[in-house]
């Protein structure tokens, strides 16, 4: 079952669970009936939590946004390293360049496989 179908099924189940009128338990309700009602409520709560988690996991990445940010990060890395190249004796700029390149590589490594960012 796909996650989307599973979500729909869970949603339907949760909706049913919460749609059941919660009339006060009759005074004569047995311990077993009360335990069953409590179990239903707990299950509905669990299903809601599962659904929330699924909806977060299901959200696809915003590829244009991701690609744009990775481009920016790597463009800034190039700018920093060009400056560093003009001041080869400056250790501080050298360290900034190394850190900037690391951020660029790290960002590229984080591009989800579903996003095909074009290198610039």
């Amino acid at each position: 079952m796909s996650p989307r179908l599973l979500s729909a099924a869970l949603l339907a189940t949760a909706a049913c669970a919460s749609a059941v009128p919660r009339s006060p338990a009759p005074a004569t309700a047995s311990d077993a009936e009360r335990a069953t009602a409590l179990g239903h409520e707990q299950r509905a709560g669990e299903l809601e939590r599962v659904l929330s988690a699924l909806s977060v996991e299901e959200k696809p990445p915003d590829c244009p946004r991701v690609c744009e940010l990775v481009d920016q990060i790597c463009d800034l890395s190039q700018r920093i390293c060009l400056i560093s190249g003009r001041h080869a004796e400056d250790a501080d700029l050298g360290a900034r360049c190394a850190a900037a390149e690391l951020r660029c590589r790290r960002s590229r490594d984080r591009i989800p496989p579903s996003c095909s960012c074009q290198p610039h």
Partner: protein, 154 residues
């Protein structure tokens, strides 16, 4: 970013009506007018339109974060236009004015830091430029993290 930002804020304020919404609409109009002037090659005139926008009083009803977003967006555009006009000192002043409104981890800070870095670099102030680029990069990396975790606030 420019018009998108303004329209986003405009959308948020649409239900409020009144002076706040009118101010945001005026900001959107100023950007549209500047677009037209830039297309005609009249960058200085476009800058004047945006300068008028940032010097206009902001109605008290406008939320602080909306005020900052709209004004920083306009200052970033002014700084970009000044750089295109080869006026880095002016670009630096605009970027400083924008950053002076407050700096949070968002596209406005990243954009203004990048523009300030470019202005510093054009003025031969390489160390300052590198620091601004680095600050912009750190913000962009945080925005990437948000985009990857499903947030993606612009």
């Amino acid at each position: 970013m420019k018009a998108a930002c303004v329209w986003l804020v405009a959308g948020a304020l649409a239900g409020c009506g009144g002076r706040a919404a009118r101010w945001v609409e005026e900001a959107a109009d100023a950007h549209a007018q500047a677009d037209l002037l830039v297309r005609r090659g009249e960058r200085q005139q476009a800058s004047r339109v945006l300068e008028e926008l940032v010097s206009r009083p902001v109605p008290a009803q406008v939320a602080a974060q909306d005020r900052r977003a709209v004004l920083q967006d306009a200052y970033a555009r002014l700084a970009g236009l000044a750089l295109e006009e080869r006026r880095p000192s002016q670009a630096l002043r605009y970027a400083d004015a924008g950053l002076g409104l407050g700096e949070t981890r968002d596209v406005f800070a990243s954009s203004l830091r990048t523009l300030r870095g470019r202005a510093h670099e054009a003025l031969g102030q390489d160390a300052e430029a590198a620091r601004d680029y680095e600050a912009a990069q750190i913000v962009a990396e945080a925005l990437l993290q948000e985009a990857l975790s499903g947030g993606g606030a612009r």
